[in-house]
Subunit: 341 residues, 3 copies
């Protein structure tokens, strides 16, 4: 882009403090930004950088109050939500796109190295990346993008304007076995996966097909990388889930939930709408009241969880103050098991 601070302010309906005539040609993070670049401040942990930045402009919130002077060579551009504003500008003016960008040499619509079964129904403006696989009977909505090596297995349905990052696997068999003769018999997985419009599925994430019926992602669901979604799971609209979380079979997750990384949700569990689940929590009982924040394994309301953690530390401190000897075990615990045979 080649835009002045004032021009961007007008486009964003924001307000300039400082020199609106400075020209911005690219974007950068606040730690690295130099003259000619636009950056933003959304997370208070990064506030220190605004006092030393060489950026020509910084997007800040309307409420931001500088605790000391900011550089004279840096204009502040005040908006309601600097992070969202940055996202909008990057989408509009970003000169080079990311992994899902259409520009560049490899942006053919269906890459010649991909395999798309002839019975698949592929919508308009769909992009299918190198070495992706679209199996028989799959339906892909308009505007959806499949990254390199994505697999969509038989009869799964992907909505419009979705993005599936590289290596995502949709529609592998669910994990169903019935005990038989001292071993297990496979339960056929006859269903499929149905993904709503405007979903994003992260790299290496796996979403299993239903035993019967469908595993369902609602509209606008955002899944990070290496997430496991079991058979017959339902995830409600606009729920976002961070990396490496696992959701066991037949669980029902509500709408507008925010789920941290490495969370586990048990089979058949229900999670109410607008639940927030802290990273690494284990949800082993249904959460029926909406809007709660939970943490721990088993996950409980976060304040309760934190009070319990504090009580335990108090206990340890008290025992220590009584000079009770507690011998720690395996002090040099081999954290990593990297080097042994």
């Amino acid at each position: 882009m080649e835009q002045t601070v004032a021009e961007l302010a007008q486009w964003l309906k924001g307000r300039v403090e400082g020199d609106g005539q400075l020209t911005l040609s690219s974007f950068a993070g606040i730690e690295e930004a130099v003259a000619g670049q636009l950056t933003f401040l959304a997370n208070p942990a990064y506030e220190e950088f605004i006092y030393t930045t060489s950026a020509s402009a910084v997007l800040v919130s309307d409420e931001f109050v500088a605790s000391r002077p900011t550089p004279k060579t840096t204009a502040l551009l005040r908006v309601g939500n600097p992070y969202e504003a940055m996202a909008l500008l990057m989408a509009k003016f970003g000169s080079e796109g990311g992994a899902d960008d259409d520009s560049g040499e490899s942006a053919s619509m269906v890459h010649p190295s991909a395999f798309v079964d002839e019975s698949a129904q592929v919508g308009k403006n769909v992009r299918i990346g190198p070495l992706a696989v679209v199996e028989a009977g799959v339906v892909i909505g308009d505007g959806t993008k499949l990254g390199s090596g994505v697999v969509i297995a038989k009869r799964c349905v992907i909505g419009k304007d979705c993005i599936l990052q590289a290596g995502a696997i949709v529609g592998a068999d669910g994990f169903g076995f019935a005990p038989a003769d001292g071993g297990y018999t496979k339960v056929p997985q006859l269903g499929n996966v149905v993904i709503g419009d405007r979903c994003e599925v992260g790299a290496g994430t796996t979403i299993d097909r239903a035993t019967l019926g469908s595993t369902v992602l609602g509209e606008g669901v955002k899944l990070d990388n290496l997430i496991q979604v079991g058979h017959n799971v339902t995830i409600g609209d606009h729920t976002v889930i961070a990396a490496q979380t696992g959701i066991a079979g037949s669980a029902k997750v509500g709408t507008h939930c925010m789920i941290g990384g490495q969370v586990g949700i048990g089979g058949h569990i229900k999670v109410a709408d607008r639940t927030k689940i802290a990273a690494k929590s284990g949800v082993s009982a249904s959460i029926l009241e909406s809007g709660q924040i939970v943490q721990g394994n088993p996950a409980i309301p976060i304040r309760k969880h934190q009070r319990i953690q504090l009580a335990v530390r108090k206990l340890e401190a008290e025992l220590a103050s009584l000079h009770l000897r507690i011998d720690a075990v395996s002090p040099e615990a081999e954290a990593t098991n990297l080097t042994n045979n």
Copy 2:
């Protein structure tokens, strides 16, 4: 299928309560089943649906006692194990298969887009999906199916009648490094992976080759998605492991174990036969007595673990009742880190 309830009862050696002449044409879960469909009740959590279902028949166990009347339009078909019976019927009569089904457009034996090294030995009735890779010296037994994008690295051996779901990776190098000069030297990984007959490996699951010798899966082992199996691990016959569990190098897991999701098992650990490990547990010491159920991190017998959890809650309640002020930290804990720069 087009079968009457009575015909299925005869085939299953089950017993009909209600109208045996109803015709069943397809399968469905108990929440969605309608007239003409067969469903089943195995998990008591779903009992309520049997009183309102429109299904024409429900497989129930011999012991099932209805707490109120079931619909007159629904026959009950009593069998020893309704889940296993459903699995058998779905395998026999399921009109459309899942991800591993042979029917359909993409069911060539070795998909033309797959790469199979000419030195690989591939058995009879093997199916290799689109864009799968079978490297040099690999041996694949009769009747085994490799999903889309599966990778079998050099010299690995896969038994008969196995199913490897899309994106499974067998035989990548184990993680072995020796400290040297302030960094690390790679320990060559010269071994392979040997997988027994009738195993299933989930989507995106990785099984590393041995440093020397073999990483071994016994017969009938079932691995869910995104599991990590380190170098030189041994997993005994008929052990089943849920998604995202990790087993570090040289661990030996016994036969007939049931391991939950997101479990971690440390390097060189032994796990006795028929051990059950609750989800999210961390096994950092060998479990030598067979048949135990363990939970927690470190994993201990489940009743002990639960007593400890209760003791801690009691402690917190007691402190709370003394009106001790415990200030909770970071109350609105950012569960997900989704939106910051």
Copy 3:
């Protein structure tokens, strides 16, 4: 190889106890080694095997003291670090390489089934495996090896002499969304990933591109399988990370750290140099002092963590000794949710 024990001792500058004229033709683990084979003893847990082995020679440390006689048919070869010595010998004499070995039928430089964009810059002696994808603008340094199905997305930069195991995904979009209209707007991910020299990236591991700037791995970083590295993360030189660990966006991990499996590191967290983090820990606050060993969730110094665990067990034991009745809940906890509908 066909080497005598004495020849190897000379090469390693080691010392022989026993018959130096024995000929060694291959390698094996100490549990399986037979006559004609060389093995090693590095982990004390395996000491028992040295008293019964049939191996012709065992690499042991200079400090090793046998507690009873070792077999007369087995020479001991004393060196400073037996594990490193074994690694060196395996690299020099290993007759068949592992997944990353150049020899064998499939060892063409760029496999014909791989897709390499014509704008990518590929160095000398680079090996690109079957069905790998190298997208537009990628740079790959000399001597680097990409396994089967690896994906390197647009404009990412890989250093020299790196090994990317099968199915690794470098440069998928970071997980960035700004709340908007009750749902989320995607934040474009305009940056890339830069990986230093001599790094190893495990099978199925995902390293996301930066929102702006670069996600960076320093020199000699070793990542195991199924690890998630979020956008804008920095990992310092010679840090090693075990499988299934996740590092959230913008975290900065120092140099020479050792991080266990299934660890979670929160967004924007800093981890000081030479930190060791025990498996399954959750790091939710920065670790500013270098050289610590931490454990737990939240991760704290390991001795403190272990004292707290012991205090809790003491508490439970005390309550139990008071004959307080604590009713355990869900005693037969369904560890795995394998078999329900």
